[in-house]
Amino acid sequence: MSQSLEELQEFHWMMDMLQSVDVGIVVLDRNCNIQIWNGFMESHSGLLPSDVRDKSLFELFPHIDQNWFKQKTKPVFELKSRAFLTWEQRPYLFKFANYRPITGSESFMYQNITLSPLVSATGKVDFISMMIYDMTDVAVGKKQLESLQVLMSEAQERSQRS
């Protein structure tokens, strides 16, 4: 009895952790209907878990290209392998505002996405998890570095010519 209570408590704080972690977590079924999402997604989208439960991802976020996204999830369901989308490929999947609306230099959040299979007890993959990482600071840093490099090579060329 006390063991099951302990397990229940463990489950409780585990859920608390998933809810508050600063990474977006979404569980999708085969038709890309949202099963659940955590506090990060709730805060940034303004939609409660109850608002999105069993709703299609593409209905809630019409700007996501359905065919493209399904293509990405296919190997996750079929091959049980992970799939990754980086901000360099597409700056974002969900159009969220920058985490720092006042001092941030970009208006939206750059995102890295990881899709990973959730294998059920029967060994099948009926659901996948999607994790959304905020990559804005990295992206901004890289863009600044690149623009500096361009400036420098321009200055170099100019000094060589003269």
Partner: protein, 332 residues
């Protein structure tokens, strides 16, 4: 915010004119090298007041005045020129310039011209109206901050075992330029370090800024019972500790009262960052004003000064007012 455009082909002259602007006049100053550049900026709305030279390449002062007339812009133009012939004065006035100042310009002359044409006075009146917050709303924000701050102070007092002097929260709508000034102040005074952290909840987002004066570090180290020399690394450590306690508890307190949950991003160290003054200018700014709640904490018996500034985006206020409607109704 009121903007001033200085148009002159000489860099020295542009700088000289900009220096002569009244010191306490809060304006954004833009520069143009000739009439063509000036027109481009004026069309973007950058120049409620234009300080214009006459002899310039590409497009001179006369042509610029004509172009302004044709485009029907509301810009007030004061000509500042070395060409002091009576005819020049007449011609620019007939083209719509409100006054003529001979070069080199000095602060007194410019000030008296600006006062004469009500440029200074009218601008100030406008700004007061624009940036004001409804007293009831301000009161309400102040009250919830008071409560949240009390909780934050209590946590701080328990953890550090000190008595916290609670400040009166200062609630204001501030403009981009004022924040810019505040941030560059942080940079210019070497004796402060700052941490900034974004937070977001449904419909409400903003940033928390925690600023600790460097002279406080020794005492903070004492309070947190840190042994050893207080070097840069340790200072950062202390700053982060103080910031997470203050920001965390204050935000939790506010969130509880508004019945929302905030997610918090990773804190960013601002003070050690070279680009701090560029932060705002780099920003392709979409916001004009921000709701700022300033709190200044002191610890009794210690030389510790710590400022916490909560900045909310202007559009967050709608949701905040909705969430606080039960408090706001009481005022009616």
């Amino acid at each position: 915010m009121y903007s001033v455009l200085v148009c002159d082909d000489s860099l020295v002259a542009r700088k000289q004119v900009a220096k002569c602007l009244p010191q306490d006049w809060e304006v954004s100053v833009h520069f143009a090298k000739n009439g063509e550049e000036a027109m481009g900026l004026l069309n973007q709305g950058k120049g409620d007041l234009l300080l214009l030279d006459l002899n310039m390449p590409i497009m001179d002062g006369y042509q610029t005045l004509e172009a302004i007339k044709q485009a029907n812009l509301s810009t007030k133009t004061v000509v500042i020129s070395g060409d002091i012939q009576p005819e020049a004065h007449q011609r620019v006035t007939s083209l719509g310039a409100i006054d003529f100042i001979r070069k080199p310009v000095d602060p007194q002359t410019l000030h008296s011209v600006l006062t004469k044409h009500n440029v200074l006075a009218s601008e100030k009146e406008e700004e007061v109206e624009e940036a004001s917050l409804h007293p009831d709303v301000r009161d309400c924000y102040q009250e919830i901050t008071n409560i949240a701050m009390g909780q934050a102070g209590d946590h701080l007092a328990r953890i550090m075992n000190v008595f916290v002097r609670l400040p009166i929260p200062n609630v204001n709508l501030i403009e981009v330029s004022e924040l810019h000034m505040m941030l560059s102040d942080i940079e210019s005074h070497e004796q402060v370090s700052a941490v900034c952290q974004g937070f977001i909840g449904p419909g409400i987002s903003g940033e928390a800024l925690c600023i600790l004066s460097d002279s406080s570090f020794d005492d903070v180290a004492k309070i947190l019972d840190v042994k050893g020399a207080v070097d840069d690394q340790l200072q950062l450590e202390l700053l982060m500790d103080a910031a997470s306690i203050l920001i965390g508890t204050c935000l939790t307190g506010l969130a509880n009262q508004m019945d929302v949950n905030f997610s918090q991003g990773h804190p960013i160290v601002l003070g050690q960052h070279r680009a701090i003054t560029e932060i705002i200018s780099m920003n392709k700014i979409k916001w004009k004003r921000t709701l700022a709640i300033e709190l200044s904490y002191g610890l009794e018996g210690y030389n510790v000064q710590c400022d916490l500034i909560l900045l909310f985006t202007e559009d967050s206020m709608e949701m905040m007012n909705k969430k606080l409607s039960h408090l706001l109704e009481d005022f009616e």
